[in-house]
Structure formats: C-alpha cells, structure tokens
Amino acid sequence: MTIAPAKAGWRFRQPSVIPGFGLTLGFSLAYLTLIILIPLSGLIWRSAALGWTDFWAIATDRRTINALQISFGTAFIAAAVNVVFGTLVAWVLVRYRFPGRRVVDAMVDLPFALPTAVAGIALTTLYAPNGWIGQLLAPLGIKVAYTPLGIVVALVFIGLPFVVRTVQPIMEEIDKEVEEAAATLGANRFQIITRILFPGLAPAIITGFSLAFARGVGEYGSVIFIAGNLPYKSEIAPLLIVIRLEEYNYPAATAIAAIMLLLSFVMLLVINLAQSWSRKRYG
C-alpha cells in the first residue's frame, strides 16, 4: 500500500514505490486532452462565439424547441416504461429459477451489443403497418412506426439493460433475513414488497431511470428509422443537429448541441447526487 506522508501539507501525490506514475498519467492526460477535451471545448468555444442574441434565437426557434421536447419527452416515457418492466425482469431473474435463465439473463444485454442501426431497421420492419406487430396493432387504430410512439419503442429497446443491470445486483444483495423478520412480525407479502423491498431498491431504480433517460435523449441510430422524422412532430434533437450540419448551418448545429450537452451535464450531476444519496442512506 502507499505510505502515508510523514508531515502534513499539500502534496500532489502520495509517495509510492511503484514506478511509472509520470509516464502513465502524462500519457493518459495527453490522450484525454487530444481526443475528448479539445474537441468538446471547441464546441463550447464555438457556441460562446455565437453571442447571446444568436444563441437565444436558435434556442427559442420553434423547430429546436419541438425537437428537444420530443427527445426529452419520449426518453422520459421510455425510461418510465423500462423502470416498470426492467425491475420486473430483474426480479424474475433474481428470484425465480427456470430453465434457460442464464440465456435470458445474457439476452438482456443485447441492446448494448446490437448496433443501433440494426435495431432501428429491425424495429421499423416489425412495427410498420404491414409488419409482424404493426399489422396486429393497425386494426386497433394504433400506429407505431413513423410516429412519436415509434421513438418510444426504440428507446425502450435501447434503455432496458440500463435499468435491469442497475437494479439486479442490488436485488441480489437483499438479505432473506429481513424479509423473514417482517413475515414473522405479521407483514403480508404486499407489505413486505412495498415497505421493505422497494425502499431498498428505490435508489437503484432512480439511477437506472436516469441512465436510460440520458441514453435515450442522445440516441440517434435506432430512432431515425422508426421515427418518420417529421419536423415539429417526430424529429429528435440529434437529427436536427445532423440536418443543420447538412445545411452547413454550423451555428445552429453547435447551439443545439451545446443545449443538449448542458442538459446532459445537469442529468449527470443528478445521477451522481442520486448515487451518493443512496450510498449515504443505504450504503
């Protein structure tokens, strides 16, 4: 282990016998700066160079606002759906034994592994009016493909593993004894779930929700095929960035990206707060 410094005082790093600190930290910082930090600050610099009036004009453009609303709205609904079904899937995987459980467990990671464009064309083909699922829904008057509902479907697919993989390990750690104690004291199954199990799982569920939500807001590949991409109706913010870029309208693309980045940053902060809150309370 590292040796604690003998005397107090500010020190960049604690002494250690292990070599290579300068080399590895130097290389990591240089690489991080070149690949991530310089390009991202380029974006911030470009949007700052726009000036407040121009920035505000782009930000309050009706098409921009609608695209942001669609992105954040559909991502929110999809994350909420995933909270319900993701928690249920995690519960079934953790609590029940059935043949093929390990295969089902591995399948949950499919959205992490399947390229988004593949997911996009597959879901569109399924939910198109003549598709396997679409033709079942058409008589009921439900249109999924080429509507905002299609965006939700794509984001449910993308976000599912975030909720399952956040909730599952916490569920596995719940002590049987706690539930047994509650049962001994006369609690019924419903009370045990709502009063004992759910409070312990809530922080993980919140984190899973935030991760799925954050991913959904920025998602592009799986959505553009199924969305129909009608301006003001089913056009997501990342697509609007691409459209502005193709029009060589760099300022607009930059401004929309900066707004999205700012909102994502706020979400990241909320996720971290939720995590530290849950650690403090249940850790």
């Binding site: 590895t24 029940y96 399948m107 499919l110 593949v118 997911a119 697919f157």
Partner: protein
C-alpha cells in the same frame, strides 16, 4: 466450470419459505409478463433481422454480401476497429495504472472525465470533430492548405470511433486494479523486478480477463457505431461507408435483403459478443470484478 464464481451470482434463495416469496400463480404471471416483454422487445427484433436477410433465399443473401460496396464497408469497419480498439487499450491500461496504483489530487475528477463520452450523444461526438476539421472548422483552412483530409475520410471515422469507445477498457480495468491493490507489484519490485517486468509478468496476468472483457465491449461498439461515424463520414460509397452506414443506405434504397444481410453480420457479431461476455462472466466472474453493465 468454476463453481465458486457461479455461486457468487446465485443468491441464496433455493430454500425460500412460502412467507418470503410469491404464491406460485403470481410467480407464473410475473414470469409470463416478463418473458412476453423480452420476447417482443429483444427476441423479435433479432429474429426479424435474419428472417428478412433470408427472405429471398440463401442465394440472394450471399449475393448481396459479395457486392463490392458491401465488401469495402466490411473492410473499412474492420480497419477502423483495428485502429480504434488498440488505441483505447493502451489508454485504458495507462489510465488504470495511474489511477489505481497511485493516490493523487483530482483523481475522482479524472475518473469522471474518462466517463464523459458515455453521456454525450453520438451525434455530438461526431459534430465536435466537424467543428475542428470541417471546411468552416478551426483547422479547416490549414488542413486544406496542406492537403490533409481528416473529415469524410478514414482518419475522421477513426477519431469519432475512438471518442465513442474511449471509456470501455479504462472503466473495466480501474475498479479491478483498485480492488487488487499494490501488494503483488510491491513484492515483485522488492524482489528486483523493474517496472516494465512488474507490469508484464505481474499486473497484466492479474487483469487479463478484465482486459479481454473491456476489449470485447469496446470492439462491439466500434464496429457498430452509427451516429458519430455518420456525421463525419460523408457517406461516400465504397470509400467511407462503414457497415452500419451501409445498412442505412441500402435500407433507404428499399434494398431490404441487402440491408438486412449486412445487418445480420452485425447481429452475428453482437451474438458472439454476448456469448463470449457471458462465458467470461461465468468462468472469471471474480477476476473481472463487479462491474457489470455497459
């Protein structure tokens, strides 16, 4: 099979009494709902990829895969992954060494920065390079004057892919190496090994499965990345089209068999990734640390 590892994933509930589990009908109902959900949202999309790819028979399938544009898309995807993955492996090992083996100020902040690309939309990951290297970009003039092509060419695609897959190896190795501590390395050093020997003969064997796990996920994402690459590629057929971009072009040309044929290769890659990932988790669960997900 390595039993101790499997046990760590199997919570102790085989002996649940009736009081601490649901009644059998409720169990069956919950399982039915969960399976139906997974079948509709995960299984059907996977099945339809192969179904559509083979819709006009095996001949049409192989024919669309032997198309020259498809071939060049496959080559480009392999090339990009072959550059991007090793770069991020070197970075991941280096960052994990600095962060896990040493205590220094600002470590938590650095760890957060490494995760940053995961919270940026893929489209923005591409956009930032357009703003740097595009015609109106910061270095646009200079690059044109010197005849260097980054955007709408292989270097831009590699950069965007490196950006998107940046955290995969590092975030796998950091917690693992932190958990293992410095004891082994200190022992090696005190026995006279130099730093390089310590890394090569002590640290690397300790983390090899975790590293492989990270490489697996990093590779899957670099071959499948769509949004970021789409922004920087310029979509030049036969030149700057990766496999996912080629899927899009074929699909938009109403060439369903062609699009799904290429998609089936990517879906196959995803399945292989999942199988290897599951095998790694089963066999070496303890050695790839408790960092599942992503």
């Amino acid at each position: 099979m390595a039993d101790p590892v499997i046990k760590s994933y199997e919570p102790h509930h085989e002996s649940r009494s009736a009081a601490v589990t649901e009644s059998r009908p409720v169990q069956l109902l919950l399982m039915a709902v969960a399976f139906a959900f997974l079948a509709i949202f995960l299984l059907l999309p996977l099945i339809i990829v192969f179904h559509e790819a083979l819709a006009k028979g095996f001949g049409a399938y192989t024919e669309s895969l032997s198309n020259p544009d498809t071939r060049s898309a496959i080559r480009l995807t392999l090339l990009v992954a072959a550059i991007a993955v090793p770069l991020n492996v070197v970075f991941g090992i280096s960052a994990a060494w600095a962060i896990a083996k040493f205590e220094f100020k600002g470590k938590a902040f650095l760890t957060t920065l490494i995760d940053l690309p995961f919270s940026v939309s893929p489209v923005i990951s591409g956009l930032v390079y357009v703003l740097l290297f595009g015609a109106q970009g910061l270095f646009g003039e200079w690059l044109r004057a010197h005849g260097i092509q980054i955007l709408f060419a292989v270097p831009g695609i590699v950069l965007a892919t490196v950006f998107v897959t940046f955290p995969f190896v590092a975030r796998e190795l950091i917690p693992l190496m932190q958990e293992q501590g410095n004891g082994d390395e200190e022992a090696a050093l005190s026995l006279g090994a130099n730093g390089w020997q310590t890394f090569w003969y002590v640290t690397l064997p300790n983390v090899k499965w975790g590293l492989l796990y990270g490489v697996l996920l990093c590779n899957a994402r670099s071959m499948g990345e769509f949004g970021a690459v789409s922004v920087v590629s310029g979509h030049i057929r036969g030149l700057t089209n990766t496999m996912p971009l080629h899927v899009e072009i074929l699909y938009n040309e109403y060439n369903a068999v062609g699009a799904f044929a290429v998609a089936s290769l990517l879906a196959g890659l995803a399945l292989v990734t999942l199988v290897l990932k599951t095998l790694l988790e089963m066999r070496y669960g303890a050695e790839i640390a408790a960092t599942r997900g992503h």
